[in-house]
Symmetry: C2
Subunit: 374 residues, 2 copies
């Protein structure tokens, strides 16, 4: 039996968005949900308690990074990733596929797997579908991802087709290699680039393998957002209603809303934490670069509609000072705020779905935020 169970609670009559519950070995997750990213077994600048306080129900961690450092065997010895990092709610690990293709050097793809050089020390490594699953089994996340090739946005039809078909064969191998299906749910990943027939073929074939959940991969990698939405429109109808759907690497407010409306249940992205550390924050009136001189004497909170710790206790002037002075608390406060902003947005989205009013909510949200399509 599967490690997870998805319950579809209702579909928004106005938008078609889904409200659900995802039962995992580490708690029940309300969907649609945004998953903060804890690349190296820590969500940058945050403690687990702070993540809980802002409403995080599941976080993502990166297999590629943990494999290279500290190594999955060490994490396993520590009692698994949950215990190692002191997080007792759900975790999803990606397969390392995306990072192998985007971060490492000198990668070489064969049918067997991928050879690459570590971005940390240049050491040579080989990851196959079997190896990826072995690492993910050792890490012990609640949801693990199949090893795929994230096809580059610019790839032509033939490359994309070959890549998509190899990802299907790799998915079969991942399923066979998976040692703990009762404890960890393995998700399949739909690829197929920006081509309608390839996406649909990938979705059909992946769904045939009967995974407990499905991701749409290979998006948010540089393509215009209209194309991403188009690919979702092509793909999602081929995914089963009774399984969770995960759009990988998406975390801007506009794309979250557009994704939810297209039937997506789960999202992750480094965007909110990364821009936070550079001094950029989401607010109900759009993004704000709190480092800027105009906020030097601005004693208002980052966002007067936000209920986070940073907004309840600190001014823009203080947070700007912390950024100028290169203080760690700057990154902490901006990260808390940006993650809370997205988690709160998803809470509002779930409420709007319950009330069959997500399109109204979206209009109202973007009236204030500005629909930047960034």
């Amino acid at each position: 039996m599967s490690a997870i169970r998805f319950e579809l609670i209702k579909t928004c009559k106005q938008s078609g968005a889904r409200l659900g519950k995802l039962y995992t070995p580490h708690g029940v997750i309300d969907t649609p949900i945004f998953m903060p990213v804890g690349t190296q077994a820590t969500v940058k600048a945050m403690t687990p308690e702070e993540l809980k306080e802002i409403g995080a129900q599941i976080i993502l961690s990166n297999t590629y990074h943990l494999y290279l450092r500290p190594g999955e065997k060490l994490v396993e010895k520590a009692g698994g990733l949950h215990k190692f990092m002191n997080w007792d709610r759900a975790i999803l690990t990606d397969s390392g596929g995306f990072q192998v293709f985007s971060l490492s050097d000198l990668r070489n793809i064969t049918e067997e797997g991928v050879t690459f050089k570590s971005h940390i020390d240049g050491s040579k490594h080989f990851i196959s579908p079997e190896k990826a699953i072995q690492i993910e089994n050792a890490l012990g996340a609640d949801i693990i991802m199949a090893f795929d090739e994230c096809t580059p946005y610019e790839a032509d039809y033939d490359y994309t087709k070959n890549s998509m078909e190899r990802t299907l064969r790799w998915a079969e191998r991942c399923l066979k290699a998976h040692q703990k299906p009762d404890k960890q749910a393995l998700f399949g990943i739909v690829q197929g680039g920006m081509f309608k027939d390839l996406r649909q073929e990938s979705a059909r074939q992946t769904v045939k393998m009967d995974f407990p959940g499905y991701a749409v991969g290979g998006l948010s990698i540089g393509e215009p957002k209209e194309i991403m939405y188009q690919v979702l429109d092509w793909t999602v109808p081929f995914l089963p209603e009774n399984k969770p759907r995960y759009l990988m690497g998406v975390g801007s407010p506009d794309a979250l809303l557009e994704g939810v409306i297209r039937g997506i249940d789960m999202f992750d992205c480094v965007l909110p934490t990364r821009i936070a550390r550079n001094g950029t924050v989401f607010t109900s009136k759009g993004k704000l670069v709190v480092r800027n001189a105009e906020y030097a004497e601005d004693f208002r909170p980052l966002d007067d509609e936000c209920d986070c710790y940073a907004c309840k206790n600190y001014s823009r002037a203080y947070i700007r000072h912390l950024f100028k002075a290169k203080e760690i608390l700057a990154a902490r406060l901006a990260t808390i705020h940006n993650l809370r902003f997205l988690l709160k947005l998803m809470e509002d989205v779930r409420r709007a779905i319950m009330e069959d009013s997500l399109l109204d909510f979206k209009e109202e949200f973007f009236r204030k935020y500005g629909y930047t399509n960034e």
Copy 2:
């Protein structure tokens, strides 16, 4: 009337150490106390709530840094330093003297004050005793320090004598310049380098000016610790019993204990927070460099006798991983631990004074910790 009141509760029959209470506009402080340093209006890597959780009752902030960035006028506009940084317990600000002499470039000392170049942008500044107090009045700390010259350890007798006498004249000017004696207690600072007669003359003359508290300055600046203890032995007997005594810039466990035994009530130092960010932590068995390879698979807490958040929830292996991966949480956990270690040490010290057993406590502490005299 003075902004603060000091109550001497008892003197340890075994060691002569003092147990007291210091009443400030922002709460009552148990002495002897260690004050974490929040140089730039933040104790690096910590929130105010975390400081309270580990038992911090008063923190120190640096006038030199806040004057340069964000500027005392901005802090005043924000409602003062307490409100600006969200800390409602007591604050002490130094006068900037030490930083002007140690951090800035091209300083030039005259009777009037000190001209120096900012370590941030090279801009030229002038600070006099009057200016220092004006800045400290604007910042609004509970305890403020007189503007002094921190005489270099290597200075000869004549230089030290002239410097000490100028510091006395500056102290008079600070007293006159102080606009809020009912809200902020101005402490005098004893200088006089490593010379017995100069220290005693400085103490006598400073005490004559009747400050609400006294600091011993110009120590822990490179001299051997035996010399520091010798200077304390010369100086402290000249300080009044009914006023708090503050040894500036001291924060190693051995020097804290030796200082307390010599009648000191207050200490501050960047040591615990600075070494924490470099991966070195205090433990009941001595210092430990958690970055080191030997802790890679060590799943014990930093210190099994510690009650801090880091020790209750994380292993050395995890914290080492965070340091290797350059994660912010590494600095956070090590900082929480090191500050808690010193605050807990002072709690234990106060208990031992109450029980007239501080020398026994010291012996037992160093039996495990190792008396490194570092």
